[in-house]
């Protein structure tokens, strides 16, 4: 299965919605988005469901239904997208509690949490620098 592609899928979806908005198309259905991502519509609906719960997209149900961005693409950062679809931290601590008899086992978890926190914050800071509008611009250049 390799790495998880949730952020990629969600960003692809939002970028596609941003392009549609710019072209005057009001809403897109999950089928239409799925055709661009080249996957199953249910995958897209799952991702869009996460994005909707985070307030990044809006849905219209019933006939003629579909999805649209809830905000301008300049105001959606990849950090928000990441938080909407991916809750796992990049580094995990021990699965089973280390041996507390050992000085290393006793103190290492808070020590590692510190370091992991710094690394994660650095990554998040970088994701916050890029918006969906930036991704769209870069995408159309390529």
């Amino acid at each position: 299965m390799a790495a998880n592609s949730r952020l990629t899928i969600a960003t692809h979806v939002l970028t596609w919605l941003a392009l549609a908005r710019r072209s005057g198309r009001e809403v897109l259905t999950s089928d239409q988005v799925a055709a661009s991502v080249n996957t199953n519509p249910v995958i897209i609906r799952r991702s869009l469901g996460d994005l909707r719960r985070a307030g990044l997209v809006e849905v219209r149900r019933g006939a003629g239904a579909g999805w649209s961005l809830a905000r301008a693409p300049e105001e959606i950062t990849l950090l928000e997208v990441h938080d909407a679809v991916d809750t796992e931290p990049p580094f995990g601590l021990h699965h089973t509690e280390p041996n507390l008899e050992c000085p290393v086992g006793r103190g290492i978890r808070p020590a590692l949490s510190e370091v992991y926190g710094r690394a994660e914050r650095a990554m998040r800071r970088e994701l916050a620098e890029t918006s969906i509008a930036d991704v769209l611009r870069e995408t159309l250049v390529n």
Copy 2:
């Protein structure tokens, strides 16, 4: 299974080796390390195998065998440990190629690789700032 604890296990092992070195114990066996991490010796040997391939630890085989650090703990960074035990990038691209008929499908992968590269580099920069000696110091404080 949740998140990946490889970096945690490997750092725990190295920190323990660093403490042993400071206490005058030359080598530790995988059984002894496993007792501190509170897991199976084979897990430790797998991790130590990765670290040995990366040149961070040395092994003595045969009777009276065991492991020791290949360098001073001040000169082993968590970035090196991370690279030794974890090769998966934090973000993955699409599993199946997106639809190249679509402008977004065509250009999004290089655009995302850029962003992911920046985020990953930021994280790596942070991991490179911390050494095993730092972790040991922080560990003994707690």
